[in-house]
């Protein structure tokens, strides 16, 4: 019984992704399934669409910058909180992790109003700030996991051997948590790259990330080049998943203890 449900569930989870990839090779112009014939023309057609290339570039830029900043801020937060009292740590962790439980539409609306009150135009900066906020929790989860595995007195040991505080961190602690750091950065990148709920509020019309662009196109008659774009995004994500799997193991991200 459970086996039947599990296999059904697995097929259900994979179906839309598989359907997109298969449908992208059809020779028909408007979406249809099953595909007729086989062609790569829609990939070529997708690659000459300027607005999508622009969005892809923006998405990669935002995801790259956000991942870097989120990794720095998340790691610093973990290191600072490692030496705070338990009450401070619990309160601060709850605050930092809260974007995980806040609905994206709420965070998006709140940030949009905040930025417009500050007189900030929607720009790369506003997008990156929003994305840093929602990706930091993932970094914190992974890095604090790695940190918890270290002996509590590691920095003291380094200090007693004559290392200055900053050097104790860079030379001793950081190398020990390398896999958590890299995993956190890659994960932050993916979360930023796939985000739409925050981006939709923080993207200016001439500056939209790839998922927001796809979202905006779907109320029109859908042509197959859009399917090819979705398919390419899937290939890209699959490549990233393999990268994570090699560096840290995907499961540690989700199966880590509540930190």
């Amino acid at each position: 019984m459970t086996r039947a449900v599990a296999y059904f569930g697995a097929a259900f989870l994979l179906l839309p992704v598989v359907v997109i990839v298969i449908a992208s090779f059809t020779e028909v112009r408007y979406i249809s399934f099953p595909p007729k014939g086989f062609t790569l023309d829609w990939y070529a057609a997708a690659l000459v669409r300027r607005e999508f290339l622009g969005s892809l570039q923006l998405s990669l830029t935002v995801a790259g910058i956000s991942a870097l900043i989120a990794t720095a801020i998340g790691t610093l937060s973990c290191l600072v909180l490692r030496r705070s009292g338990p009450a401070t740590r619990a309160a601060a962790t709850a605050l930092v992790m809260s974007p995980l439980v806040l609905p994206g539409v709420v965070t998006g609306i709140a940030l949009l109003q905040f930025f417009s009150l500050l007189g900030m135009n929607l720009s790369l900066t506003s997008l990156v700030l929003g994305h840093v906020l929602i990706t930091v929790p993932y970094v914190v989860r992974l890095v604090s996991d790695s940190l918890n595995a270290l002996p509590a007195n590691l920095e003291w040991a380094a200090a007693s051997l004559g290392a200055a505080p900053a050097r104790a961190v860079t030379a001793v602690v950081l190398p020990c948590i390398k896999s958590g750091l890299i995993g956190g950065a890659i994960f932050a990148f993916i979360v930023s790259f796939e985000n739409v709920t925050i981006s939709v509020f923080l993207s200016a019309p001439q500056m939209t990330t790839l998922p927001v662009r796809v979202f905006g196109y779907t109320d029109q008659a859908i042509e197959t080049w859009l399917v090819a774009i979705c398919s390419m995004t899937i290939f890209f994500t699959v490549a990233l998943i393999f990268a994570i799997e090699r560096v840290i193991g995907l499961q540690r991200i989700f199966y880590s203890g509540k930190g």
């Binding site: 839309p16 610093l76 709420v106 905040f114 979202f215």
Partner: protein
């Protein structure tokens, strides 16, 4: 405090970093939310975009006084409930199977479960668009098998939205139930078996009660994120299936009515908070072994 024992320079550097990070999170998280809250109590003239009222319940009266918005609230709750129940119905047996499976199979299943979390749900919903479209997989399949004679309007329906939402949220349910099962010691299961429990009794009296925590946290996540989703309702429901979040999105980005959009967002937050609270209370009542730890031992033991 341990930091106090460290040399002064180190402690002050630590404090400075702490303050900088606190400023970052407070200004980017707490301030915007506070601003949104205050905005919900304002009123804006939608022709001039001037604030006409700084402290009014207008937006909330507008919401709760209009049957359109009340229906919207009810539909949102209904869609989220259907999604949560379906996720649970598929997710529990799935997690149970995964938990019992051999290491190799478990790893493959985990990878399948995790994969949708890493792909934008715009893209995932797009897949359902191709499946449910008039020229899509299901319609062509049904026509080809001669089951139907006309193309069914599967898209832009509540059913399409629920299917899309179940797909996006199922991984969260499975992960949280499996997480709970993982913490369940195999000794407990062995003990139950050695006391003569059959499969069904083991399930009912041992595994299920001990996994309720995962079921509840999974349901909370699924309900809260479904109730506040707007991308899937817009993509798969079109203009026909509106939810609280999709109307909030519209009020903010199309009508530019910030106060009303904010008020809806706050109603949404309250809704998810109430449901979360209710489910957590329910879990406490369903887990007598935890209640027994907290209170004095109950006098009436359920006959085992």
């Amino acid at each position: 405090m341990s930091a106090g024992a460290v040399r002064g320079s180190r402690a002050s550097g630590h404090r400075l970093l702490f303050i900088l990070l606190a400023v970052f999170f407070l200004s980017l998280l707490v301030a915007p939310l506070a601003l949104m809250l205050s905005s919900a109590f304002q009123r804006v003239d939608l022709t001039t975009f001037q604030t006409t009222d700084r402290l009014t319940l207008h937006q909330f009266i507008r919401f709760f006084g209009d049957s359109y918005y009340l229906e919207l609230l009810a539909r949102t709750v209904w869609i989220a409930t259907q999604t949560t129940v379906l996720c649970l119905l598929i997710g529990y047996p799935f997690a149970l199977y995964m938990w019992r499976a051999g290491p190799r199979e478990r790893q493959v299943l985990r990878l399948i479960v995790l994969s949708p979390l890493l792909i934008s749900f715009v893209i995932l919903n797009f897949g359902w668009l191709i499946i449910l479209a008039p020229q899509g997989l299901i319609n062509n399949l049904l026509l080809g098998l001669g089951i139907t004679r006309t193309r069914l309007p599967l898209l832009h329906s509540e059913g399409a939205v629920v299917v899309g939402l179940v797909h996006v949220h199922l991984p969260f349910m499975i992960l949280s139930i499996e997480n709970a099962l993982e913490t369940l010691s195999s000794d407990v299961v062995k003990a139950g078996r050695s006391l003569g429990a059959d499969r069904w009794q083991l399930m009912r009296n041992v595994i299920w009660p001990l996994s309720i925590g995962g079921v509840v946290s999974g349901s909370v996540i699924v309900f809260a994120t479904t109730a506040s989703s707007f991308v899937t309702p817009v993509l798969l429901g079109g203009a026909w299936v509106k939810t609280l979040a999709s109307v909030a999105y519209q009020q903010i980005l199309v009508n530019l009515d910030m106060p009303f959009g904010s008020a809806i967002a706050i109603i949404l937050l309250l809704l998810t908070a109430i449901v979360t609270f209710g489910l957590v209370r329910l879990a406490e009542r369903l887990q007598p072994h935890l209640a027994a730890d907290r209170a004095a031992r109950p006098t009436t033991e359920p006959s085992a």
